[in-house]
Amino acid sequence: MPRVSFEHIVKRYGNVTVLDGLNLAVEDGDFLVLLGPSGCGKSTLLNLIAGLQDVTSGRIMIGERDVTELDPKDRGLSMVFQSYALYPTKTVEGNLRFGLSARKLPKAEVNKRVKWAADLLQLQPLMRRKPAALSGGQRQRVAIGRALVKHAEVLLFDEPLSNLDAKLRTEMRLEIKKLHDTLKPTIVYVTHDQIEAMTMATKIAVMNDGEIQQFGTPDDVYENPANLFVASFIGSPAMNLAAATLTVDGGQPLATFADGSAMSLTDAPFDNDVQPDREIMVGMRPEHFVMDATGSAAGHAAFELPVRMVERTGSDALISLDFAGEHLFVRAEPDRAVKIKSGDAVSVHYPIAKLNLFDVQTGQRL
């Protein structure tokens, strides 16, 4: 399966520039998720690689082939659409066959592939039905089947799970992941759902305003967000971002928060040289907080804060602390959380090594 790359992609609609000089490459067998809020250009990018829209300038490569000027059908890819786009007047089998009919394959080969896809996706009992008589999940599987029978080298997914309910979505996520593990196609998958991205992707490209904010593995994107946008977009509950001033005192970096409290950043993971006297954002993931008293070991910042609210979410509890007038969310185990009431003062610790520091002005990671 080939590598897919976008080189200097520019896309304009009239005067509106959607993508401006975008570069991105995925290796073969990668599961790339384009993640971002609506209007960030991720669907445009997918349509460009599919050939449903033309680039204004730039080059799209699939393997060694420049496909920029090719028709969609000649690009060697298949696509699963948000609305599934099943042909409503054809049966499930007809849908699977129709995509192959244009390729002049021998009949035996067509039969073989249709049977293969039907078995793989458990479509056999549905073959004679029309899409209108299928449930959402079944339609989804047919749509995937229709894409698979073509044995395309690259599979495109355009928000394929957004029309399903939560339970089905979880099931289909696993199923798509399993398909990728067994068939190893190169997948480009568009979604605005970070859980889909985190669970399925081997690579995530976080997009905003037509630009790629960060490109990396799910872990990388989650633990080391490249900028404030990625930090606040990825993660649910979201990362706590507390405004502070960065100073250097005797060679030791120090963050001073709005309430006057200070935090030593000596062990903090700075990517760049520390430059003092600037406004920064200190990012803390709610789940990295430690509530044990024993956690007050070295390398942790300690907070002693009043509780505003305790929220149970089922498997977890979220404690909202009052930190310099802002909310500071801390994840806690439910057992522990039931003992805490609003108004109590609790002490929590955060591992300095897991801090995320951003420059307020540029939004970039420090």
Binding site: D20, S57, T68
Partner: protein, 295 residues
């Protein structure tokens, strides 16, 4: 960013061959569709000598308004020779009250059917649906007798009445379908706020009806103006609409036929709805969609 060099520029976008073929084909079809209007216009401006040469598509050698003015002031329709003027003003006089009566009546009926629960609403809707397709011929003679017994046969009142009655099923269904989509909660809230039937209609429903009102208005203007059958059946001496005058004018077969006058007369009759159509075409299309899907 915008100063970044453009990498891999594409060839300048050309219009694809297929697009050209489609546009050429559509343009030719459009030309064909314009032929009747074109010959009407050029012939109406020609003099009879040129018309007798038989070049139907040629432009007038000398553009002249003579045929137009003759058609408007002097042409004979039946026994009177006062041009189309009278028919025009008759049509205007029929149009106004017909519009008001037919739209007001069907609007209120559609509103009542859509938003106020009535036991027999379903039955009534079905009757409306059925009657929307009934051929005029089957109710024509009874309507004549009805208007005679009301003492209005032959007057404009009769024509207005018949227009109103005949438009009732379709227009009511259109309004009803439009009002049906108003959330029921709005009406519930309005009723709770002591809104009466008429107050809700005037203060809430009417202001929401702007779009559908224009659509129906245009539909009705063209259909009433272009009507022939109702006008010829229910109109009397001096109350017949323009289309009837035109039909009489062009079917007169005595003496030499002044084709240029006929064409000018036809255009005079066609101009009012055409002007409305070309100015408000979008609503006309919506009217077609609304009128076709009556269910």
């Amino acid at each position: 960013m915008t100063d970044a060099p453009v990498m891999y520029p594409r060839k300048p976008q050309r219009i694809k061959g297929r697009s050209i073929a489609i546009i050429v084909f559509l343009s030719m079809a459009a030309l064909f569709f314009c032929i009747p209007l074109y010959v009407l216009v050029v012939t109406s401006f020609k003099e009879m000598e040129q018309i007798r040469e038989g070049a139907i598509f040629s432009l007038p050698a000398r553009w002249t308004w003579e045929a137009w003015s003759y058609a408007w002031f002097d042409a004979c329709s039946g026994l009177t020779c006062e041009g189309l003027r009278q028919g025009f003003w008759n049509s205007v006089a029929i149009l106004g009250p017909s519009l008001v009566a037919s739209i007001a009546l069907s609007m209120v009926t559609g509103y009542a059917l859509a938003l106020w629960k009535m036991k027999w609403a379903g039955t009534f809707l079905f009757v409306l649906f059925l009657c929307a397709f009934v051929p005029f011929q089957i109710i024509m003679y009874p309507l004549i007798r009805l208007t005679v017994s009301l003492g209005i046969y032959g007057s404009m009142t009769a024509i207005v009445f018949v227009h109103t009655a005949l438009a009732l099923p379709v227009l009511t269904l259109i309004f009803r379908n439009f009002y049906k989509d108003i959330p029921e909660d709005i009406i519930k809230a309005a009723v709770m706020d002591s809104g009466s039937f008429w107050r809700i209609f005037i203060e809430i429903i009417l202001p929401m009806s702007g779009n559908i009102l224009i659509v129906v208005l245009i539909m009705q203007i063209t259909s009433i103006w272009n009507d022939y059958l109702i006008g010829v059946t229910f109109g009397g001496l001096g109350t017949k609409p323009m289309t009837v005058h035109l039909a009489n004018m062009v079917t007169v077969s005595t003496g030499t036929v002044s084709y240029n006058v006929n064409m000018a007369a036809a255009l005079l009759t066609a101009i009012p709805p055409l002007v409305i159509y070309f100015v408000l075409g979008k609503f006309f299309v919506q009217g077609i969609a609304a009128g076709a899907i009556k269910g």
